[in-house]
Amino acid sequence: MASANPQIDIAQLVRRAQVGDKAAFAELARMFLRPAYAVALPIVKNTADAEELAQEALVAALQKLAQLKSPERFAGWLMQIVRNRSLNHLARHRVPSASVDSAEQAAPQLGGIDPLVQQRLLNELRQLTELQQHVVLLHDMENWTHTEIGAALEISVESSRQHLFQARRRLRESLGKRGIRSSENG
């Protein structure tokens, strides 16, 4: 959500979308598609399912937009839909122990990314708590601020900072042990 005053922009977009403005729909989809994926991924632990759930949740949220009383709470509302759908999906399709090998085979090679590196990184992420995964993915992958993360996940800004700090420390330790270089970019 790279905007100077995201609350106002999002609230305005939501109000426009509520009256059927397709351009506002598209802008909301652009802003929240990947964050929705970042929230679904730690729960379902599978990139393909997370992709599908992110799309489904966003479609459902946009369809039910008229029910949203406070447009400025869109992010938190959407993330709650993503979480609920992901948990329902997990309950329906729970596999006793998802094989890393099968996941590695299933992981498509996209954008020149080594699927092995991707899978190992995902595995290390899974060692974190769910909340730590949400925070680190939204912050370091989607460039959300702590204020935005706090609003979306309904936690305090300080709590978001703490979770990020702990998540990064654990990831660095585990990635360092496995010899995966975590490129740091300030």
Binding site: R34, L121, L125, S182
Partner: protein, 117 residues
Amino acid sequence: MDDKKIDLTPCRPWPKETDFESVVASVVARASATHSQTLSFWDGLLVGFRRLARPMIAVAACLVILAWSSALLRGASESTATIGGAVGDSRVALMNWAVQGNTASTMEMLAVLEGLR
């Protein structure tokens, strides 16, 4: 605080930049298709009610004013009818008085009737 970002790019392969807009378009198409259907049903009803609220209040106010003024008019017409009835009774009394051979001339009677109008 550990303030250096971790490169999580490998966890974000989806959707590829080249596919991003098509995925967005697909989401918008699916959402807006059902959004308009939903709007035409309950939400449409709600939106329609909200839009009609002010005109409905104005119409209701007009109806109240009409009812009030009609009640006033009805009251006034009832009073007129009473007066009219009284005039009619007076005319009958005068006619009887003339027919009975009283000394009042027809002109006087007409003058009296004229005065009652």
